[in-house]
Symmetry: C2
Subunit: 204 residues, 2 copies
C-alpha cells in the first residue's frame, strides 16, 4: 500500500492516529481536512502543540494544570474559594466538569489517576500524602471524594477514606451521589445504579 | 469559564476543535492525551503539520494528491496501470478506498468534489474538461464513474455522462454497482438500495 498518498500526508495521518480513539479512517479525514483548509489552520495547530509542554505545568498544591508562569492554581489562590472544603478528583479535566456546574465554591485536589493494578497504578503513585498534609495545613472541614463511578474509582475512594481515618484526622467525608442521571428512563438504568438511587433517596 | 485550564492547553483544545466532527469534549481528551504523552509526540505531530502544505501537491493529470517532488501520480506513471480505463472519483481519498480492494488496475481521475448547489459547487469547479481531454489523449476505452451514492454523487454522475456523450466521444461508460453491502440483512436495507439490488441482480 506504499505510495498511495504523499509521504507528508501519510505522516500527518500516522501522527493523528496516535490520538485516543482515532482509527485510520478518522485520521485520514482529519488530515485531509487540514490539507484542504487554509495553511494557517495546520500551522496554528502546529504552533500550539509546540508550546503545550513548555507552557503548562502542575500546581504544586492541588496538582491541577496551570500556566507555567503561575505559582499555584487560581482556583486555590482565589480568596473567594473555600479552602476548608476540598473535592478530590482523579484527573485535571474532572475539575473542568465540576466547575461547569457553577455549584462548587471549594478547592480541588487532583490524585493523578485511580488505583488500577491492571494498569500498574498503585496508591503510591497518587497524590495522597500531599492531600493528608493539606488537610491539616488548610484546616479542612470536608473532603468530597469525587472519583469516577468505575471499579477503579470506587477502590480509590475506599482507599482514600481508610487513609484519612487511619491518619486520625477527624473530618467530614462525603461522596458524590450515585443515582439516575437526568433524562434517563428508569427502565434503562442498570441494577447497581438503581440500588444506589434507592439507598440515596431523598425525603419530600 | 476563563482560567479553568492553562492558556496553552485551551489553545490546543480550540485548534483541535476545528477538526471535522470534533466537539469540545473530544478536543479536551485529545489535548490532555498529548499533554500526558511524551513531549516528542506533540512535537512530532507539529512538525508533520508544518510540512503538510509544502510537501503535498495535486497531480496535474489525475488531480490525485502527490509528493511535491513528483511530476505526476505514481498510479498514473506506473507502466503496469492500464491508462485506457479511468475510474472517476470525487475526492483523492476515494482512490485509497478503491486501491485497498486490490481489484482495480486502471488509472484515476479526481473531480475535486460533486455538484452541490447548496454548497455553491457547480460543474465548472470540477475537473471535467481535463477528463474529456484525457479521454482522447490516452485513447481511453472505459470510464468507470465512481462518485458517491449520494444525491450529489448521482447528479454529478449524470452530468458527467451527458458531457461525455455530448462531446461525441464513443466510449464504454459504467457505474459502480448499487446493492446490498456485505454483511447487511435484507430487512435493514432501505427501499432504494433494494430496488437497485433487484435491477442489478446477476444470473446464476
Amino acid at each position: 500500500m506504499a505510495h498511495l498518498l504523499p509521504a507528508a500526508l501519510e505522516k500527518v495521518i500516522d501522527e493523528l492516529g496516535r490520538l485516543p480513539g482515532v482509527g485510520a479512517r478518522t485520521a485520514e479525514r482529519y488530515a485531509y481536512f487540514l490539507l484542504r483548509a487554509d495553511q494557517h489552520v495546520s500551522e496554528s495547530l502546529a504552533t500550539s502543540l509546540e508550546q503545550l509542554h513548555q507552557q503548562v505545568k502542575t500546581c504544586p498544591v492541588t496538582f491541577a494544570l496551570i500556566d507555567a508562569d503561575e505559582a499555584v492554581s487560581p482556583l486555590y489562590s482565589d480568596p473567594d474559594r473555600d479552602k476548608t472544603t476540598v473535592a478530590v478528583v482523579e484527573e485535571p479535566l474532572d475539575i473542568v466538569a465540576l466547575e461547569r456546574t457553577g455549584h462548587f465554591k471549594g478547592t480541588y485536589h487532583v490524585l493523578g489517576g485511580a488505583i488500577s493494578p491492571i494498569d500498574g497504578i498503585g496508591p503510591e503513585q497518587l497524590h495522597i500524602p500531599e492531600l493528608i498534609e493539606r488537610l491539616a495545613r488548610d484546616n479542612v472541614q470536608e473532603v468530597i471524594i469525587a472519583t469516577n463511578a468505575s471499579v477503579e474509582g470506587e477502590s480509590t475512594a475506599l482507599f482514600l477514606q481508610k487513609n484519612i481515618v487511619d491518619a486520625g484526622i477527624d473530618i467530614k467525608l462525603s461522596r458524590l451521589a450515585r443515582g439516575i442521571p437526568v433524562g434517563v428512563d428508569l427502565e434503562y438504568a442498570d441494577q447497581i445504579t438503581l440500588s444506589h438511587a434507592l439507598d440515596g433517596r431523598s425525603l419530600l
